[in-house]
Amino acid sequence: MSTVFALAAGLCAVTGSFFFAIAALGVLRLPDTLTRMHAATKAGTLGAGLLLAATAFTFASLEITIRVMAIIGFLLLTAPIAAHLIGRVAWRLIDEKNTN
């Protein structure tokens, strides 16, 4: 059973870091503010969730799992709110540049 947990943790860790690499590449290479925000929010949240799930698989205890689920839930709650706020600011900056 611990073998299965260790292999699942390794798979989750590598996949999560892969999504972090995608998010960083998108933030670095995409041409626009809104497209960069698209890359940062979704891929970054998925990568953090997978790495935290890998931590839960590694320790394989109940209280660590509950704590990890709380952190993942907090990330899933706050990431869209932060993205909405930044997107509104970016849209206003673009709008003012176009009208002036």
Binding site: L7, G16, S17, A23, A24, A40, A48, A54
Partner: protein, 111 residues
């Protein structure tokens, strides 16, 4: 402890993951440096906080310290609050008077 080879595989995978997350932090910091507008820098700082959460999770696995998950929770809360604060600041920064509300600037722009 059964399956020591799987623990070795896990250690290698977590080390690779920590290295990749650190490299992506470097890329995000480059965007913070060269970002043309202020909104780009705020986006990059938001992703930077989430990257630090992932790196702290990797460190909790490498060092076998589960208390580092509390650090991850605190960093995610701080990152969210910092993003909200930066967004509010950027919304207020371009207004001519700080006492004006958003509705009055909207009607000023229409007029």
């Amino acid at each position: 402890m059964s399956g020591s080879w799987s623990d070795m595989v896990l250690a290698v995978c977590v080390s690779i993951a920590a290295f990749v997350v650190a490299a992506s932090i470097v890329c995000v910091l480059l965007r913070v440096l060269i970002g043309p507008s202020r909104a780009d820098r705020v986006v990059a700082l938001d992703l930077l906080a989430i990257c630090i959460v992932g790196l702290v999770a990797c460190l909790a696995m490498i060092d076998d310290v589960p208390a580092l998950l509390d650090v991850a929770l605190a960093v995610s809360v701080l990152g969210f609050l910092a993003t909200v604060g930066f967004a509010r600041y950027l919304e207020r920064a371009d207004e001519p008077s700080a006492a004006r509300t958003l509705d009055s600037t909207a009607t000023d722009r229409e007029a």
